[in-house]
């Protein structure tokens, strides 16, 4: 019950965050950006057509009124329509969002599994060749631009070895019936194995490119957190009791080292949505990231505002999820008590 109260409190905190984020985007895109009319209508548009377009989109109103109108509409779930496609922003976003989320989840799974594995091996075999190798890999992972890693993967696995496709999300021939928009789930639900294999093959390279940076951060955090927990007295006690080394590492050291690791994974998941902008551009992935860049460049304000709000919601919810996972990992943490 107390946990539910805490969650409701945290979700309510979304409101000021969303208002603030919307003000920032509004300021950048409506106040400081050039007039969108000539960009949207093209350079041959007449003064009159531009004037009419501004009027139709409410851009002639005072800035504060434009913002108030936007918020009023947003509260009813209406985020406006795209200046270009005229389709509702919610529809524009939700048709592309599953592609980005599927990519981000695949990337964070890869980053977490490999990152925790490398971090644990590094810590257990401190100063060995594995440790040094893991640390060098982590260092290169944080220093390499995501988009360049993507390019290298394409050159190697698509251009040279011809193992994996370089662009897109699925061969259109295998398109599964749309249920959730997540191709992996849809192909499983419809039993379309060809689609599943093809979607997985398309997913591998972008997920590797997007996840590499997070993998590096998770490796570093796991290593340091494991080293710290392995130097604790309870580990010595566990060893003295004759428990096998493998069990000590898994049940005692790793379990206690997990809290900071989970935090980092949560934070990384938030940042993956930003990294998706670049990965999606490199791999022509039909997600929200590459699309948003286009919308920013084309001054399609309603879409940009919608995407940024959605990303902020995801960011806050991921942070909340991290806090809840804490409580499961460490029973000493009681949010409701702390709050009360």
């Amino acid at each position: 019950m107390q946990m539910i109260k805490y969650m409701i409190k945290r979700i309510l905190m979304l409101i000021p965050v969303l208002i603030g984020v919307s003000i920032i985007v509004f300021l950048i895109m409506r106040v400081f950006s050039p007039d969108p009319a000539p960009i949207v209508l093209g350079e041959h548009a007449t003064q009159q057509s531009m004037q009419e377009w501004r009027l139709a989109n409410g851009l002639n109103d005072p800035i504060w009124l434009q913002y108030v109108n936007y918020i009023k509409d947003a509260m009813t779930g209406n985020l406006g329509t795209s200046y270009y496609t005229k389709a509702p922003v919610t529809q524009e976003i939700f048709s592309r969002f599953p592609a980005t989320i599927e990519l981000a989840i695949a990337a964070i799974i890869f980053a977490s599994l490999l990152g925790i594995f490398l971090g644990v091996v590094s810590a257990v075999k401190k100063n060995s060749i594995f440790d040094n190798g893991g640390r060098i890999l982590a260092l290169i992972g944080v220093s390499m631009p995501i988009f360049w890693l993507g390019i290298l993967l394409i050159i190697l696995f698509s251009g040279t070895l011809h193992w994996l496709p370089s662009t897109g999300r699925l061969n259109p021939l295998y398109q599964p019936t749309q249920i959730t928009g997540f191709y992996l789930i849809d192909s499983l639900l419809t039993g379309n194995m060809n689609a599943l294999v093809d979607a997985l093959r398309h997913l591998v390279l972008p997920a590797l490119a997007l996840g590499m940076y997070s993998m590096a951060i998770i490796t570093r955090m796991t290593r340091s957190s494991m080293l710290e927990s392995m130097s604790q007295d309870y580990i010595r006690t566990a060893r003295a009791k004759g428990i096998t080394n493998r069990r000590v590492i898994r049940k005692h050291a790793l379990r206690n080292a997990l809290i900071p690791i989970v935090t980092v994974i949560g934070l990384q998941f938030g940042s993956l949505l930003g990294g998706a902008v670049l990965t999606e551009t490199v791999f022509s992935w039909p997600g929200i990231g590459a699309y948003t860049v286009n919308c920013i460049l084309k001054s399609d304000f309603p879409v940009v505002q919608g995407v940024v709000l959605l990303v902020a919601v995801v960011y806050v919810l991921v942070n909340l999820a991290v806090d809840i996972i804490y409580a499961f990992l460490d029973p000493r943490i009681k949010y409701a008590k702390k709050e009360g």
């Binding site: 000021p16 965050v17 603030g20 984020v21 920032i24 985007v25 950048i28 895109m29 400081f32 950006s33 050039p34 260092l139 290169i140 944080v142 220093s143 390499m144 631009p145 995501i146 988009f147 360049w148 390019i151 290298l152 394409i154 050159i155 698509s158 251009g159 370089s166 570093r220 955090m221 290593r223 340091s224 080293l227 710290e228 938030g270 940042s271 949505l273 930003g274 990294g275 902008v277 670049l278 551009t281 490199v282 948003t292 860049v293 920013i296 460049l297 001054s299 940009v304 995407v307 940024v308 990303v311 902020a312 960011y315 806050v316």
Partner: protein, 307 residues
């Protein structure tokens, strides 16, 4: 407590915590033993020398690079790496080796200038928030949190769309998006420093807020700012390359690594070498600042060495 301290034989840095010069000296002593950090430092030195020499030779009208980095010759386009063109030539027949070297000055300049902007503004806001506390603190820090809830690359792209393309705009955009990180660090440091006896003493003897912040508190948190700034240069260089790759950053005729990669993308299968070397340059530069920054952080806080 005193006994414990005596028994521990405090580190040089601890003994001189109130003297910024000694803090720097102690940091250097610890840094010297860290091979990776020293390697990073030498790499930064080499990159800086390359950047300065290229820039100075350009100013003096001398040609140091094997070819003019902006000189296109379509008859020489897509020459694979050979003894004349070590890194090959690009789609316009420009020598990639010369362009990669020339790009050093842009990346270092944009990276450092952007960090200077975010650091200056971040320090001012962070100091005010930490020192003033109360409502001022809440307003400033909530605003910073909101900026952090927007992915920085999207925010930078939006700034670029608002400001227009170009090297100066890229610096401003990249500088603005990193402000919250500095503000947070400074605020935290100020909050803990403000409780120290020397700050209380400075207040008692009648120093005003401005002089307490700038003369008494900031010099003592300077090392954490330096660490953050060094690591900040590496992320600023990555952001510059990302903007360049998307076609938004530094514009031609400047040779910028990200821009070079973005323009060569269409030739990924026909001329992959055009995409290899600019990326290597970005990675080495970012790696250098990461190595050095990590070393500085460890020197400042030995506990973090585990990482």
């Amino acid at each position: 407590m005193n006994q414990v301290k005596e028994a521990k034989k405090p580190l040089q840095a601890e003994r001189n915590a109130d003297k910024p010069e000694s803090q720097v000296k102690a940091m250097w002593e610890a840094l010297k033993t860290n091979k990776a950090a020293i390697a990073g430092m030498y790499l930064i030195l080499i990159l800086t020398v390359v950047a300065v020499v290229v820039w100075a030779s350009e100013l003096m009208g001398m040609r140091i690079l094997p070819y003019d980095p902006n000189d296109s010759d379509l008859s020489q386009s897509f020459v694979a790496p050979n003894s004349q063109h070590w890194f090959g030539t690009d789609q316009l027949g420009r020598d990639i080796f010369s362009r990669v070297l020339d790009g050093t000055k842009i990346s270092l300049f944009v990276g450092i200038a952007a960090v200077a902007i975010s650091m200056t503004i971040g320090v001012v806001f962070g100091s005010i928030a930490g020192y003033r506390g109360g409502k001022t603190d809440t307003i400033i820090m909530r605003f910073m949190d909101m900026m952090l809830a927007i992915p920085s690359i999207l925010l930078a792209i939006a700034f670029m769309a608002a400001l227009g393309k170009g090297i100066d705009k890229a610096i401003i955009a990249i500088g603005l998006v990193s402000i919250p990180e500095y503000a947070r660090i400074i605020r935290g440091s100020i909050l803990s420093a403000k409780e120290n006896d020397y700050v209380q003493a400075a207040r008692v003897i009648g120093n005003n807020d401005y002089s307490i912040i700038f003369k008494h508190i900031l010099p003592n948190v300077v090392s954490s700012i330096v660490v953050r700034a060094t690591l900040g240069v590496s992320s600023a260089i990555l952001d510059t390359a990302a903007l360049g790759f998307l076609g938004l950053g530094v514009q031609p005729p400047y040779a910028e690594w990200g821009d070079m990669l973005g323009r060569a993308r269409g030739f990924i299968f026909s001329a992959p070498y055009t995409l290899v070397f600019p990326g290597v340059a970005i990675t080495i530069t970012v790696l250098a600042f990461n190595l050095f920054g990590d070393g500085l952080r460890d020197a400042l806080d030995p506990k973090s060495r585990l990482r």
